[in-house]
Symmetry: C2
Subunit: 480 residues, 2 copies
């Protein structure tokens, strides 16, 4: 978004000033009654000579590429092919302990980069404690906190277990997860079923109502839906994402079309199952009662694509971006499992009645896998109506997408933007472009209350911190 | 849409020409190697002195309005209130013979302004013949045509019977119709259930498959859906339209979101009815198998609104626009039941495989009630993805809506355009503005084969003819 300023005066109206860089200078001139036009500009790599040298080596424009840069371009092109060709088929729903690799009974998975119990934010502690009660390992919030602090719980990021989780992102062994398969690469990804909005575990709530809902999902919703999914032979989630992008969703904070299309895909198989009509009604009513239900399907679809480039040598594209409520971390394809972290931001957004910015926890969740895979905030131009949920002006939505083209390596083939004459969404965040331009990914997000036990208080938009991209670029340069 | 032209040259590149009016002059200059910029402009009222005098009387801008013009402005403001406040609740589905006023056993309703059997276009004759076979009044196409020509069938426009019908728009007594109610005004409107795409009655097909489908709809689909509708206590169609406009529909040629949202509104009541699971499946699968199903609900919602201003004294707003495949007719609120007609146009569009412009019938159907009520082509800015069905460029969609603001008296309060920061859609076509600017309504439409028996061959976009608006304005001027 550009900085608001006065209309630039014509030549006959006296002295005019053009200000580059710090907006404060233009503001000072204007405060004195002058006329200054502020132009957003920053020097390449924020003027850091070391980063500029690295960019000279890794990102020199023009035809005479060095040998290493040629390898980078080849790797990035290969990465885009894998991202674009990734399919996403919902093939099953299973208990996490049966299918999520390495998820033993001692383990609780959480969103974002690694974080210890002591450093976890309020809503994540709330969700972990709720999960321990749900698992039967504790009988109260206090007992659960004591257990979590005792060292007898192993914490690990969802991302380390082929999984993603929205907000706190807690996955515990008894929870059932969507199983998505990418036949183009042979990989799988997992995500829990979305519980709804407001007072729910992923936003840090943990009371009896929350636990009771999780048990109902485990004992009824998930197994019955699983039968329908298996009977369907697989639901094409990628096709639903592509169509929902033509219907005003960006699939991160707006999933009303995705949820509607999923209902149309699943109802025939529910009605053909051995469920009673009342049972079918309960399943469909739960899904239809929550326009964010599809988020937990769009996220693992993004994870399926992003995981295809994890560890790809010489590739400078981001393959994960996730927040634990304290830090935002990114992973870069060519840099393997290492996380590069910066402070998690505070979203600007709209708050539910009775709440405000002072209640907001820092940014939280694995849902930025959407932006990583070319939708979410990157597809804002598809979803101008989202501002009713996140704030801002609808007419700015196209500008968000345009700005993301500047840091993306390519455009998606299958995820298209009608308002841009079906141009593909920005795909593959290139850390070289991010550092060169000092421009980081836009993120659409939900906002959790910073205290455990309360839940969602709003939704908004923010940018990722620049520092983790700069650190990643330095590490990339040191690889050889 | 503006006429394509070369970039206008700067002052240093030699002589340049600006051409107003006929594009041929600019084309001639450019053909000679010159540089002419063509600007779309036409004199007010197409330069017709009589129409200009009428506009002086009825549409003089500025604060010193004459007494008649004051009455017009007051009537038009009242009309906009009625249009905006109109609700649309689906309250029942009933056999047409039971609920459509004046529809006796001798009568067949059709789309558009009045037309005799002899003058009907091919697809309308096909649909009428099919309906006579379906009603049991004939046993073959030839027998049906003979009966239709015998004078023993009374033909009347749907619009004369509080009804609307897409394409041929045929409503016969045995067909079941949606019953919509507007509690704000107390009126009702009726429309058949959508049969699907391709080889269907409304596009002029009439073979055994078509008749069999109509019988299944009469004997199973409609009565079962009716039970669910009655049990629901009423489905709010206006709310679905408003939401679907935020989801990429314009509700005339694109109804994928509307159909999806209707499925979500109706499934609980189907599942609570006495239908078997297999029965529920058949009903939902039929609806979900046709993304145009909701058209036959958006149309009577538009009719409910438009009928509230029918006969409103001194009102210059169009209250009906419909085509019978030969003529397009409009009605103006202050001019009562009289139709003003001009030639029905030939859409520019996309054709199904194997068909082309030579196969197209002239524009057909009551579905322009959508544009009359502030959606359809007027809401193109909501639905850029529609060009995949109708042709054209998605980035031109906002321009269509902007142009319709110029001939609309106001903007809708409840039907909003996200991409325009939730500005209301253009509402209430003012015949004074149409004539003054020489700019007529955009129409999104389906394309029927011009021969009976074939069905839909494409979809496209076109403009209404100017002559019927000019004739209406003259008649309005002569009122007193």
């Amino acid at each position: 978004m550009t900085t608001p300023h006065r209309p630039f005066p014509g030549p006959s109206t006296g002295l005019a000033t053009i200000n580059l860089g710090l907006p404060g200078f233009a503001e000072a001139v204007n405060a004195q009654g002058g006329n200054a036009l502020h132009v957003q500009w920053r020097p390449p790599a924020s003027g850091d000579p070391q980063l500029q040298e690295i960019l000279d080596r890794l990102h020199r424009p023009g035809p005479d590429l060095g040998e290493r840069q040629r390898r980078i371009e080849a790797a990035n092109r290969e990465a885009i092919q894998r991202l674009v060709n990734a399919q996403a088929v919902l093939v099953d729903i299973r208990p996490a302990r049966e299918v999520v690799p390495g998820l033993d009974e001692e383990t609780i998975l959480h969103a974002g980069p690694p974080v210890s119990w002591e450093r976890m934010c309020g809503p994540m502690q709330g969700a972990v404690a709720g999960a321990l009660v749900y698992e039967g390992r504790a009988s109260s919030f206090d007992e659960a906190c004591a257990l979590a602090a005792s060292g007898k719980v192993r914490f690990a990021p969802c991302h380390h277990h082929r999984s993603v989780g929205p907000m706190a992102g807690v996955i515990s062994p008894l929870m059932w997860v969507f199983v998505l398969h990418n036949p183009a690469h042979g990989n799988r990804a997992f995500c829990t079923l979305n519980e709804g909005l407001g007072k729910v575990l992923r936003f840090g709530a943990y009371d009896a109502e929350v636990i009771e809902r999780l048990r109902w999902m485990e004992r009824f919703l998930a197994p019955e839906l699983a039968k329908a999914v298996r009977a369907s032979g697989g639901i094409n989630i990628k096709a639903i994402i592509a169509q929902a992008l033509q219907m005003g969703d960006e699939l991160h904070n707006r999933n009303v079309a995705g949820t509607s299309l999923f209902i149309r895909a699943i109802f025939p198989h529910l009605l053909a199952s051995d469920l009673t009509k009342e049972g079918v009604h309960q399943v469909l009513a739960f899904i239809s009662g929550n326009n964010h239900f599809f988020l937990n399907l769009s996220m693992p679809a993004g994870k399926l694509a992003a995981d295809t480039i994890f560890g790809l040598k010489d590739c400078t594209l981001m393959c994960a971006m996730a927040r634990n409520g304290v830090e935002l971390g990114i992973r870069v394809a060519g840099l393997g499992p290492r996380w590069f972290t910066g402070p998690a931001g505070l979203p600007q957004g709209l708050y539910f009645g009775g709440y405000g910015a002072a209640d907001a926890n820092r940014d939280l969740g694995d849902s930025t896998i959407c932006e990583t895979a070319g939708f979410g905030g990157f597809a804002m131009a598809c979803a101008p109506a989202i501002v009713q949920f996140t704030g801002g002006s609808a007419s700015q939505a196209p500008q968000v997408t345009r700005e993301m083209y500047e840091i993306a390596y390519a455009r998606h083939r299958d995820y298209q933007i009608p308002a841009f004459d079906f141009a593909g969404t920005p795909l593959g965040v290139d850390i070289r472009k991010v550092v060169e331009r000092g421009s980081t990914p836009y993120i659409n997000t939900g906002i959790a209350h910073r205290q455990p036990g309360i839940g969602q208080v709003g939704a908004g938009i923010l940018r990722a911190p620049l520092s983790c991209f700069e650190e990643a670029l330095r590490a990339f340069d040191e690889l050889e």
